[in-house]
């Protein structure tokens, strides 16, 4: 029972409290880059969710069965990047073959995920927190859902912003930055949710 509660807390904390973009400030690049339309933001979010969920499991296995066994924890970053890059490539090939429509929808965002620090961030945090395999999976999925939540919300706001009467010097990125800052402050409100 305690274990189930803990899983739930991990999920909640990764989505809201420790939201990857809003409180850990990882993955800011796609957050600002692909948040002009809700539909593309959704595509990006789903692609990230898929990749993070898979990569957190595989990096967990690689860490415990290769790096720890060989006393090579210090090579963690290098090994994880290698794994993530290969994984993204593989996923891209599989999707292109099996589901061309999904491949079209994800488009260029899929290979871009390789260099997304959120993916590497989740993998490293999983190890640091000492999660087991199931917790790793939950934390990875939750973090990615948090990422999706933040980017879709932000894209929705930016779509509205485009129609608004904004002073010229503030148009485009300046107002987007301010919006992102305000959203981050708002997410700060979740901070006391879990002790």
């Amino acid at each position: 029972m305690d274990y189930a509660v803990k899983l739930f807390l991990i999920l909640l904390s990764s989505i809201l409290v420790n939201n990857f973009i809003m409180s850990r400030f990882l993955g800011i690049c796609p957050f600002l880059g692909v948040s002009k339309r809700v539909s593309t933001a959704m595509g990006m979010g789903l692609a990230v969710t898929f990749v993070i969920a898979m990569s957190s499991v595989i990096t967990y296995l690689a860490h415990h069965f290769i790096l720890v066994k060989l006393n090579m924890e210090y090579m963690q970053t290098l090994a994880f990047i290698l794994i993530i890059a290969a994984l993204v490539q593989f996923v891209e090939m599989v999707i292109q073959k099996t589901s061309p429509s999904l491949y079209q929808a994800l488009g260029v965002y899929l290979p871009l995920i390789t260099t997304n620090c959120a993916v590497l961030g989740v993998a490293i945090i999983n190890i640091e927190e000492g999660y087991d395999l199931l917790q790793t999976l939950i934390n990875g999925t939750g973090s990615a859902l948090g990422f999706t939540l933040a980017i879709v919300l932000f894209a929705g706001i930016r779509e509205r912003l485009e129609q608004s009467d904004i002073p010229k010097p503030m148009q485009g990125f300046p107002i987007a930055m301010i919006t992102a800052g305000l959203m981050s402050v708002a997410f700060l409100g979740f901070q006391g949710l879990i002790k």
Partner: protein, 326 residues
């Protein structure tokens, strides 16, 4: 010491090798067969990724052409030279499709059309159209807030000082973007050779049109009767020109009481009979629907310039090719 150096190199190297081999196999197993012509077509396209064709970039158009979804001359920017290269790859003749241009079918500018109210919202036609179908008295009128101007990638459409969008025929590539963007659906693509258009889209009754606009189609059907080529049809209180039948005689534009039918009279032609070739067969005279040719049998014919509309029927019918349009 050596072990400490060797271990990471071997293990990570091995991992990398493993992934490399796995990806290599995966690439073979999951290889997507691609038509080699896609790459060839992509090579000859301009590569500006302007989206003027309506596909996502040149890659998108290349695959659409190869799949047969788009014609070989679909690239509006490349023009004929690109179309020829593409058709060489695809093995079909480049159909010399007539160039089209966009036309704004409204002339209700600030002098001629009445406004319902003063609009002070977001300066965008789509936004304005959501509020009571726009501020123009006529719900089919050009709102003149420049949505078409902003979507045009070729700088070919501009709202003039009287608040009506106008197309620059030279620059227009018929990319269709303004047609899609216009919330009033008053922009249409017409063949470039067509010089006469019904520049009104209002399907209101004549009285209602008149109340809001001095230059709208009031549905009097004078043009339908005036057209000697059956090129004008009438439906939903609105005249419509069949561009396949229209010969640009411009009679309808002359007769139109409101001026809703607009013709470019500066490009109107007149028939000219070459005296040396004319044998006096009277074929042209019989065929002229405007009684604009006079002359007796076996004598040289002449064109009455005032009556001639430049429809070109005589030019086609003359067996001696003695008639030219100028």
């Amino acid at each position: 010491m050596v072990e400490q150096l060797l271990l990471p190199v071997v293990s990570l190297g091995g991992l990398g090798l493993l992934f490399g081999v796995a990806l290599g196999f995966a690439a073979k197993k999951f290889a997507v067969e691609k038509d080699p012509r896609i790459d060839m077509v992509r090579e000859v396209l301009p590569g500006a990724n302007c989206g003027g064709c309506g596909y996502p970039g040149c890659d998108g158009l290349a695959s659409a052409i190869v799949e047969g979804k788009a014609p070989v001359n679909a690239c509006p920017v490349g023009g004929l030279s690109v179309a020829e290269k593409v058709s060489a790859i695809m093995g079909v003749e480049a159909a010399a499709a007539e160039r089209k241009v966009a036309v704004v079918l409204c002339q209700g500018d600030c002098d001629k059309a009445v406004d319902k109210f003063k609009y002070e919202g977001i300066m965008d036609c789509v936004a304005a159209a959501m509020l009571q179908e726009g501020h123009k008295g006529c719900s089919y009128g050009c709102l003149g807030l420049g949505t078409c101007e902003r979507v045009c990638p070729f700088d070919a459409i501009h709202v003039n000082e009287k608040g009506i969008a106008e197309v620059d025929r030279e620059k227009c590539t018929a990319c269709n973007k303004c047609v899609v963007a216009c919330p009033k659906n008053i922009i249409e693509l017409v063949p470039e050779s067509s010089l006469v258009q019904v520049k009104c889209k209002s399907t209101e009754k004549g009285k209602d049109v008149k109340a809001n606009c001095k230059i709208g189609c009031i549905g009097c059907q004078i043009c339908v009767k005036a057209c000697k080529f059956d090129a004008i049809t009438f439906e939903n209180n609105l005249a419509r020109i069949d561009y396949d039948k229209c010969v640009n005689c411009m009679v309808c534009a002359e007769k139109c009481p409101t001026g809703a039918i607009k013709a470019d009279f500066s490009k109107r032609k007149t028939a000219l009979i070459n005296d040396e070739l004319c044998i006096g067969c009277t074929i042209c005279k019989k065929n002229c629907r405007f009684d604009a040719i006079e002359g007796e049998l076996k004598q040289k014919h002449t064109v009455i310039a005032d009556k001639c509309t430049g429809c070109g029927i005589c030019e086609k019918k003359c067996p001696k090719k003695a008639i030219t349009l100028k």
